[in-house]
């Protein structure tokens, strides 16, 4: 449903467009969209700018209502949206600013394996891993957590799995927030959400989620790549998934619970999907406690999946895991709200930073970064479409100054799923991908059609834009070799 933006939008510089505060009634700050001459026309057609303007009306918003170059239409907030609210000044938290798939994110595994060695066996490897990785609609995981286990998992995140012997401390250290957000409250998560989640931890799900076997195609910064364990020609494995049914249910539950909050707190909203409450109110705190629990669940989900991938790969090769150099590079969230301190107008402020389809990109030296990466900055993992590329970037000082330490999260869709299926009619997407050197398997009948490369924006253009705006710097480009989808 493409809708042009009829409000005022003006170019600031090569990489930024502004929707001035005067453009729409109720806007408290400007909207700022990171984009490029190449991308902006689709952005304006895509319905995102009106949402950037709507978000600018939220109480307590500071700086600007931001959108990254992968901006596209989303529920309430656009995808690619970043909004920070001043908690002490009554700033709100909005479930729509996080989205249904709470802590959807990406984890990257590096290996010592040369791509050339795996290439001839890729079809076999994809079939092998497809059998091992639980994926698709209605498929449960290998782990079942009872009520007590679920409570611990929701409250303690990956730390709980470390204690259970289901995760390595080394993995936990290179996971955003150490794989656990403090302040998670399992009691704020409904029984229905727990029921949806108890059998799904360690499953990929469907839709745009994937496990991808990749080759490091190009390194842009040798020193940083070395620190991350990446070198041209080596194999990496990327996992993209989130909090499964548990997160969807938490979002739905709190959209419902917060329906009456705007009335109660005198907040006027241009869109029902933007329901929100002051972050410090009872309603706001309760949502944040549940959202954090769902985020912890998502980190555990990706942890259990990386365990499966490691084991599967080692068994396929008939070699010990320890001989393959399998080390987690990093794990980032791209649908989350976090309490962070940022400098706004020269003074430090405690903010509730919503990132919806946007990635944290903290600069070198930040004390939230693991020791290993403190010198280079936070790794940022950008999944692209399955026919093109994914990227590894690093956070920058400019991101801290301009975007609350945030950057883009992926390519961003341009086609609806139905459009993609129509455009795939009479084509064999798997064969087209194979011609590009990518072996893909999907559980669902329409999965490959819906996720075909043409359904997405050009990931190279998105990454060029954030690099040019200094919201991140490029370290490596990863080419897909094999893809497993739900």
């Amino acid at each position: 449903m493409a809708r042009g933006f009829e409000g005022r939008i003006e170019q600031i510089d090569e990489n930024r467009w502004r929707i001035p505060r005067e453009a729409q009634k109720g806007m408290r700050v400007d909207g700022v969209i990171y984009s490029s001459a190449e991308l902006i026309a689709d952005v304006i057609d895509g319905g995102g700018p009106a949402q950037v303007a709507n978000v600018a009306t939220l109480p307590g918003i500071v700086g600007a209502s931001l959108a990254m170059p992968d901006i596209h239409w989303g529920y309430g907030f656009c995808i690619g949206g970043v909004a920070a609210t001043d908690v002490e000044a009554g700033g709100v938290v909005s479930p729509g600013g996080v989205g249904y798939d709470i802590n959807c994110g990406v984890r990257l595994l590096r290996t010592d394996l040369p791509a050339a060695e795996l290439r001839p066996r890729m079809k076999e490897l994809v079939a092998w891993m497809f059998r091992d990785v639980p994926c698709g609609v209605g498929v449960g995981g290998k782990h079942r957590f009872d009520a007590k286990g679920m409570r611990k998992l929701l409250g303690e995140g990956v730390g709980y799995l470390v204690r259970k012997g289901l995760a390595d401390e080394a993995d936990r250290e290179v996971t955003e927030s150490g794989g656990c957000l403090a302040g998670a409250d399992p009691d704020a998560v409904s029984d229905q959400a727990i029921k949806r989640g108890s059998g799904q931890c360690g499953t990929l799900g469907a839709g745009n989620h994937f496990v991808e076997i990749q080759r490091v195609e190009k390194v842009y910064d040798a020193e940083a790549a070395d620190a991350l364990g990446l070198a041209e020609g080596l194999v990496t494995v990327m996992i993209h998934t989130g909090s499964r049914g548990l997160g969807h249910q938490v979002c739905g539950d709190y959209l419902k619970a917060l329906r009456s909050a705007p009335g109660k707190y005198g907040i006027e909203l241009p869109d029902r999907q933007l329901v929100c409450a002051p972050a410090e109110s009872g309603e706001g705190r309760r949502y944040l406690s549940a959202m954090r629990a769902a985020a912890n669940y998502a980190w555990c989900n990706r942890q259990l999946l990386i365990n499966i991938v490691r084991k599967s790969l080692a068994r396929f090769l008939g070699r010990a895991q320890s001989s393959l150099g399998l080390r987690q590079v990093y794990d980032v969230a791209h649908n989350i709200a976090k309490m962070e301190t940022h400098t706004v107008g020269g003074r430090p402020m405690r903010l509730c930073v919503h990132r919806k389809g946007a990635t944290r990109a903290f600069a070198p030296g930040h004390d939230e970064l693991p020791q290993r990466y403190r010198r280079i900055g936070q790794p940022v993992l950008i999944p692209g479409d399955m026919g093109t590329a994914s990227y590894v970037l690093l956070g920058t000082e400019a991101a801290m100054e301009q975007s609350f330490g945030s950057t883009c999260h992926g390519a961003g869709r341009v086609m609806s799923r139905k459009q993609a299926i129509r455009s795939a009619a009479g084509r064999q997407i798997d064969k087209e991908l194979a011609a590009k050197g990518v072996i893909a398997r999907a559980r669902g009948r329409t999965g490959l059609a819906e996720e075909q490369p043409d359904a997405y924006k050009d990931v190279d253009a998105v990454v060029e834009c954030v690099a040019s705006a200094h919201l991140a710097r490029k370290v490596a480009r990863l080419r897909p070799m094999g893809v497993i989808k739900g």
Binding site: H72, G205, G245, H248, R272
Partner: protein, 139 residues
């Protein structure tokens, strides 16, 4: 007018557009439309029954809450609904029965993972000739 439900395109997702003579039939049509997105309903037998009761503050919220319950039956309990019967419906409450069976991967074709039922451009309206609704699903 027989109840009916069609899908329409929406950005990354899909919407349900339903018409019916009564509010109860409208809610049935929406739930059947939802299940048609989730699975091939023709292959699901009406072997078990379960009752669903929903109360909400207005008719639009009722549609979202109702469809969320139908979705939950599948996602939490793996119950696929083949037939939907609304026993009682007002603008703020609904009692219904789902007839279906537990998901069996060997026999059932499951099509799409529906994450949630959204409020975006949600409408449930009474017209001169009956009821109409539009609901968008997050996939």
């Amino acid at each position: 007018m027989a109840k009916r439900c069609e899908t329409f395109d929406h950005t990354a997702d899909v919407g349900l557009s339903a018409r019916a003579d009564t509010l109860g039939e409208l809610m049935e049509a929406l739930a059947e439309g939802l299940m048609d997105v989730v699975c091939d309903r023709a292959g699901v037998r009406a072997a078990e029954w379960r009752e669903i009761r929903v109360e909400s503050e207005d008719v639009e919220a009722l549609a979202v809450d109702w469809l969320s319950e139908v979705l939950l039956a599948f996602d939490a309990d793996h119950f696929l609904a083949a037939e939907v019967t609304v026993r009682e419906a007002s603008e703020t409450a609904l009692t219904a029965e789902l007839a279906g069976e537990p998901y069996a991967p060997a026999r059932h074709e499951v099509r799409t993972e529906v994450k949630a039922v959204t409020y975006h451009q949600l409408s449930v309206t009474r017209r001169a000739d009956g009821w109409a609704a539009r609901v968008i699903l997050d996939l």
